[in-house]
Amino acid sequence: MVFNSLDFAVFLPVVFAIYWLLGAARIRPQNAFLLASSYVFYGWWDWRFLGLIAASTVLDFWVGLAMSKQHLKVKRRLLLTISLLINLGALGIFKYCNFFVEGFVSAFSFFGSSFKAAELNVVLPVGLSFYTLQTMGYSIDVYRKKMEAHKDLLSFASFVAFFPQLVAGPIERAAHLLPQFSLRRHFLLKEAHLGLRQILWGLFKKVVIADGCAEVVDLVFMYYLKFSGLTLWLGPVFFAVQIYCDFSGYSDIAIGTARLFGFKLSQNFKFPYFSTNLIEFWRRWHISLSTWFRDYIYLPLGGNRTTPFKMGSNIMLVFLVSGLWHGADLKFLAWGGIHGILYLTTKSLQTLSNRLFTPIPSNIKQGFSIASMAFTFLLLVMSWLFFRIDSLSMLPQYLHEMFAGLTYPIGYRQTANLFTQRIGLFLPFAILGFFTVEWQGRKGLFAIETIPNTWPKSIRWLFYFVLVFLVLRLSVHQIPFIYFSF
């Protein structure tokens, strides 16, 4: 089931009503109902993969319990290794099998011998990359004694399969979300209002902005050989907007939905395109994944407390793993690599820039901030090109036409035609309006968390009516969320 579907529009109110009718004092029935609802939610896509979630749940629950009873470090480590091997094994089989088989075939062909591998065509279960990291994080935390092993299978299973964030995050830390399943949840009017508001904003981002941009992006990347210059710039620029609105829209709907049920999920996006450099961007983009990699890969490798060379290689490794996490494809690896290089370059230049900009008056500094934001966005647009392009082999020609084409007048005519015939005025104005609202609301957890509170009620409701109308009006096709494929 996807958030932008009629099925979910029926599912959510029904589950919400039954959940609260069960009563706040009855935690176990509520948890059982949430678990059943989550399995229905997931099984709506493909019920066969429910077994995988159940297996992952039981394994990590058992490993956690077994580790808590063991005092010998060797045995605890053995148990953790079992958990990691099985979880990573599942990821390896479902996500990377085809990639490695193809890699083998290419390697054999390179050395002159022909090798024909059977095509496996393994289907990637939706959400596997997300809930696997969540359960692995739990096992590692128990191993490190950062948290106690959970003793209740029901609430643990509800935590793993919690439907708002099951399919595409935020990847929650067990220490943050799991205890909430053992506490009484109270219906709070303010939280419910905020939840609905966040869901609405998430749907607006997804249906109006992201899906609108998707049409332009698909067109440019599909027929890139026919375009040149400015039009080819539109592809990655619109994709930058699309992927942000698509993914952060999903997170907003997930967080808002969880709020309706009395749960608090972590913030996943903190207005990343208002970052003044790449380091800041990575503190604001897909926060739950970045912090997961920081805590479970980067810090165990030594973190900042090591030699500059080791630190640099650790950062590179984290970015490459992050790239590979997005998908079994060289383009994602390249995307991760580029971000690693840019991150390290920014880090080394940061000390210098801090020294340079400290004595500058604040109004000039503000001007520099806006310029830095624009420059960071430009770097991100270039990196998104690697992410979106169908294959790395397309890249040289795309880049050549993108830059060289800026000198051809035909490229500008193509762009003008594209705007007059395909894009129209609505989408550019909607994007402009969207970023204005985001800028105004950048101090909140999501853009419209606080802004409408200062407006008269009639204006506020009119604003919501317009948002709901636009979401309904433009949801012609159910375009799946981009991160479902990761």
């Binding site: 219906f187 009017l189 209002h193 009119l462 009516f465 109308f469 309904l472 012609v476």
Partner: protein, 288 residues
């Protein structure tokens, strides 16, 4: 659960429905205003299904009559939606409406309420009457709600155009007898009757495009009898003429298949139609 929250949700939903209705009425007025100011609307417009789409060459008709004609035939278009489009066309200022009816016009509701039909007919939304809405809601509530929510910005565009059918009848095997004997007493012909009655200053010509002789064998006599009964009902109006070209052609060379003319047939039929219109002496002066 907090009942106050539930009450607010209900209030919000009612408010939103009122907002939708208000928006619809505003856009409807704007669309009507915009279309009334339409510059140089085509005086003659042809509506109908694929039979109209491939049968009338509007350029040739314009040339023959020295008045602009536009073919708005659309594949799969039923009478209901053709009538809504005709309403828009009349509103723009067209004064002669040619309406194609065929033997399938009364046998299926699908063309009226299928999602595909509704998606391509958003341009006619502002011309639906209350009874038309009631018909759509009673037959397909969800699809109609989807359709309503897709309310378009005011526009003068209309779907449909003449399609040159370059195919030639090849397979002359007699088609199997098909059952087209179940007739829906739908409102399709009622809306057309209402339209004709509501616009006494507009001339209507209800016609049937030619079909291959084998076609009539395939559909059976019951269907043909029923068609004739309905078709003849249009003869009662002073501003409506009927033209039955149905069994006029029998040469294979003018057909693309048993149901549709090819470009050769379209040329002949257009010339015949032009002659008939001149013979009727219809008032098609757009300046009235």
């Amino acid at each position: 659960m907090h009942w106050f929250f539930f009450r607010r949700l209900v209030c919000f939903s009612i408010g939103f429905l009122a907002f939708l209705l208000f928006l619809f009425l505003v856009l409807r007025q704007a669309d009507r205003f915009w279309n009334q100011k339409s510059p140089n609307p085509p005086p003659i417009v042809i509506f109908g299904s694929s039979h109209a789409e491939v049968s009338i060459n509007d350029d040739l008709l314009s040339q023959k009559l020295s008045i602009e004609a536009k073919n708005r035939g659309l594949s799969g278009q039923g009478v209901f939606w053709s009538t809504q489009a005709a309403k828009k066309s009349i509103h723009q200022g067209s004064r002669l409406i040619l309406f194609e009816l065929n033997n399938f016009s009364y046998t299926s509701l699908e063309n009226n309420i299928s999602p595909a039909a509704l998606i391509r007919e958003t341009g006619s939304m502002y011309y639906l009457s209350a009874s038309d809405w009631a018909f759509l809601i009673s037959n397909a509530p969800k699809t109609t709600l989807d359709y309503f929510i897709k309310m378009p910005f005011p526009n003068r565009s209309m779907s449909g155009k003449y399609m040159e059918n370059k195919r030639w009848l090849k397979n002359k095997e007699q088609p199997a007898r098909k059952k087209f004997d179940s007739f829906h007493s739908n409102i399709s012909d009622t809306v057309l009757h209402t339209l004709i009655q509501a616009h006494p200053k507009v001339n209507f010509v209800v016609f049937r495009a030619p079909q291959h002789p084998y076609f009539y064998i395939a559909i059976g006599p019951k269907n043909e009898h029923y068609f004739q009964k309905r078709f003849n009902l249009f003869k009662q109006y002073a501003n409506c003429q009927t033209l039955d070209f149905g069994p006029s052609f029998d040469a294979d060379s003018v057909f693309a298949d048993f149901g549709h003319l090819n470009l050769n047939g379209a040329r002949i039929l257009t010339e015949m139609l032009a002659d008939s219109l001149v013979h009727f002496g219809l008032n098609i002066d757009n300046k009235q």
